[in-house]
């Protein structure tokens, strides 16, 4: 069983939902990233998502674009990111790590070499934003052969046929993009997300995470009530950006922010359970 599968199995047994925070590796400077990952786990993260900086982040809004630019100013490469995961693993052998980024740095390293290095570093899943399943056979095979989970996005525009195809390629979990747009865009519509999740669950038994548009404890709680995992990115990266002048203080701010989300999510899920019990 992969770390990601184990994580979701355990959460299910506890009746809880996964909190998956995202930060860009090397933002605002490389030595901050590993302490931030540990701080996020301490604040209640179940899985951590680490962004691989890219010069042309086409699917990202301005907040995560700027994070990439700050990291690239320090020349943070894919190899450096793997080095950070390796360092993180020295103190944490349990929390799954998912890399999120764009295909070109992986192409440059080569699929086999990347999969091998990622496994050796302690990576668990890989989400390549600009790699739809149609083009993914080579990378998926390389990842699978190293027991790494290929994570794919499902969009509001995905047809049922595409959802089936995506789920057939994915393992670990699938990631539902809650709105048409880039990361950090407008607020999401929980009712329509719930309807889409029901469709996705008819196709797959994989856990379904929801991301894009979750900005605070309240929206995290509302999504936790309907999804298996809540992915938070831009809201946290904004905190990192605000603390760029005093990088040693960022971990403390992130801990507070995530702690609120964690508590709100757990309460929401507990309330939902109580509600159901009372209904019976």
């Amino acid at each position: 069983m992969s770390r990601i599968e184990q994580c979701f199995a355990q959460l299910r047994a506890q009746g809880r939902k996964a909190l998956i925070p995202y930060v860009t590796a090397g933002d605002p400077q490389p030595d901050v990233t590993v302490p931030l990952l540990h701080a996020m786990v301490a604040a209640g993260a179940d899985i951590v998502e680490l962004g691989v900086p890219f010069s042309d982040p086409m699917a990202d809004g301005p907040v995560i674009q700027r994070a990439s630019e700050r990291a690239l100013a320090h020349h943070v490469s894919l190899r450096d990111v793997l080095g950070m995961v390796r360092e993180f693993r020295r103190r944490d052998d349990v929390t799954p790590v998912v890399l999120m980024g764009y295909l070109n740095p992986v192409e440059m390293m080569g699929y086999e070499a990347f999969a091998q290095a990622a496994q050796a570093a302690g990576v668990d899943g890989v989400l390549t934003v600009d790699l739809p399943p149609e083009e993914a056979a080579g990378l998926v095979d390389a990842l699978r052969s190293r027991q790494l989970d290929p994570i794919f996005l499902i969009a509001p525009t995905s047809t049922l046929e595409r959802i089936e195809r995506i789920c057939a390629n994915a393992s670990g979990f699938v990631y539902y993009v809650s709105l048409k747009g880039v990361t950090g865009a407008a607020t999401l519509d929980v009712a329509s997300v719930a309807a889409r999740l029901a469709q996705i669950r008819e196709v797959t038994s994989l856990p379904v995470g929801v991301g894009f548009g979750i900005r605070d404890a309240e929206s995290a709680a509302r999504v936790a009530a309907i999804a298996d995992a809540v992915v938070v990115g831009s809201a946290l990266v904004k905190t990192v950006e605000a603390g760029a002048g005093r990088p040693q203080e960022i971990a403390g701010h992130l801990r507070l922010q995530l702690g609120e989300m964690r508590a709100a999510m757990d309460n929401a899920v507990a309330d939902a359970v109580k509600h159901r019990l009372r209904g019976k």
Partner: protein, 411 residues
């Protein structure tokens, strides 16, 4: 003529019909975008497949190209310049005489007609030098469609006149301040707009790059250049040319000229990239000559990138060639050996810019000047009875400030 777009588009070269069903030219091309864009790209592909064989659509396109763009553009024998160079006879395909002054409008007319048939009310585009932005704003004005053009903040400074032209035409010009603040970043930003507004928005990409079906669709719209040139040279010179020369940024004017000649084995194809300050300096925009394959902007192709797979900044005196990628069909034509790719420096292009202006009375765009500069190297190696067609893809009025500044002249 109205049936020819589909005929050209389905003429197989070397037994292969490219791209394949999923948009690949050999290992290049494809569709590398976030999931949200997969459905709209498929919707676009289906619409294009349907309308490219639709007699009414093709008739409207043909009428617009004649009455609005001013096609066919002349094929002009530059006899004086040929004599000066010494060697092969040089013929200029005069895309500079099109409405808006470049080949770009061949494509924007086609895509805008498609947008209207798809019921889209809002047009977006990216632009580097501003030529594609102007060509898009122009057709949007004519069809009464809302138009938003993304342009790098650096390019906005360099091309103030084109920015004003777009605004006069009613377009909103959005400065892009991310990354290198040039064409590639404008393309990123246009993609972000599209993914956010896909319900009512049509993205008119200006070159033969991007996710499938753009490289094939833009090629098909630009093929009018090569189709006309082929007919014209047969009529005016009585035979096919020996060589074709065109500049390559994204590569739409080059593919438009080359494609209808792909099966004419005797016609040698030359694509000319921007060598900037020289290939050895690293300050250039020549991915085919000095780059490596990778994935950017929705397709796999040759790119300017570093060892970590980050896209690097390009340099060219010509804003229209200042792009780190290239259309995937050119990548395939290079690997297959059917076309040759070379690079010309800023200085060489400037020399050709002045020469053509003084000797033929035609001010060429700096982009096209790269192709002209290569002709001055190629023609002397060929006999006087050989024929070279060079694509004069745009006029140089937009570049006079750049040239003056470079030469220390204040206008």
């Amino acid at each position: 003529m109205s049936k020819q777009i589909s005929q050209t588009a389905t003429a197989p070269y070397a037994g292969q019909l490219l791209p394949d069903a999923s948009g690949h030219f050999g290992p290049y091309g494809g569709r590398f975008v976030a999931e949200t864009l997969m459905a709209p790209l498929e919707e676009l592909r289906l619409a294009y497949e349907r309308f490219r064989g639709d007699a009414e659509f093709l008739q409207e396109l043909d009428d617009d190209l004649r009455q609005y763009v001013g096609r066919p553009s002349p094929l002009y024998h530059a006899a004086r310049w040929s004599a000066r160079i010494g060697g092969a006879q040089v013929w200029l395909k005069r895309e500079d005489l099109n409405h808006t002054g470049a080949h770009k409008i061949n494509n924007t007319i086609g895509q805008a007609l498609l947008a209207r048939r798809m019921g889209k009310t809002r047009i977006i585009a990216e632009t580097g030098a501003g030529q594609h932005g102007v060509a898009t704003a122009t057709v949007a004005a004519r069809l009464g469609l809302e138009c938003v053009v993304y342009m790098g903040a650096v390019d906005i400074e360099r091309q103030a006149a084109n920015v004003f032209r777009m605004k006069l035409l009613g377009a909103t010009v959005v400065p892009v301040t991310s990354g290198s603040k040039t064409l590639k970043d404008a393309l990123n930003e246009a993609m972000r707009d599209w993914v956010t507004n896909i319900d009512n928005t049509f993205y008119i990409i200006g070159t033969v790059a991007g996710p499938h079906p753009y490289p094939a669709m833009v090629r098909d719209f630009q093929c009018v250049i090569g189709r006309e040139a082929r007919e014209q040279i047969l009529r005016q010179a009585g035979r096919l040319p020996d060589a074709l020369v065109a500049c390559v940024g994204g590569g739409s004017n080059a593919i438009g000229l080359f494609y209808p000649f792909l099966n004419d084995d005797g016609v040698v194809l030359y694509g000319v990239e921007a060598a900037g300050a020289g290939l050895e300096s690293g300050q250039h925009a020549a991915p085919l000559c000095a780059g490596r394959p990778g994935v950017l902007h929705g397709n796999r192709t040759y790119l300017m990138e570093d060892d970590d797979g980050q896209i690097i900044e390009t340099h060219s005196i010509s804003a229209g060639l200042d792009y780190p990628g290239v259309g995937p069909e050119h990548a395939w034509l290079k690997d297959s050996g059917r076309a040759n790719y070379i690079a010309i420096t800023d200085d060489e292009a400037l020399q050709a810019f002045h020469d053509l202006t003084r000797i033929e009375g035609i001010i060429p765009a700096l982009e096209s000047s790269h192709a002209l500069a290569y002709v001055t190297k190629l023609a002397p190696r060929l006999d006087r009875d050989k024929i070279i067609i060079v694509n004069l893809s745009g006029r140089g009025d937009k570049d006079i400030h750049t040239v003056a500044t470079r030469e220390g002249i204040r206008l």
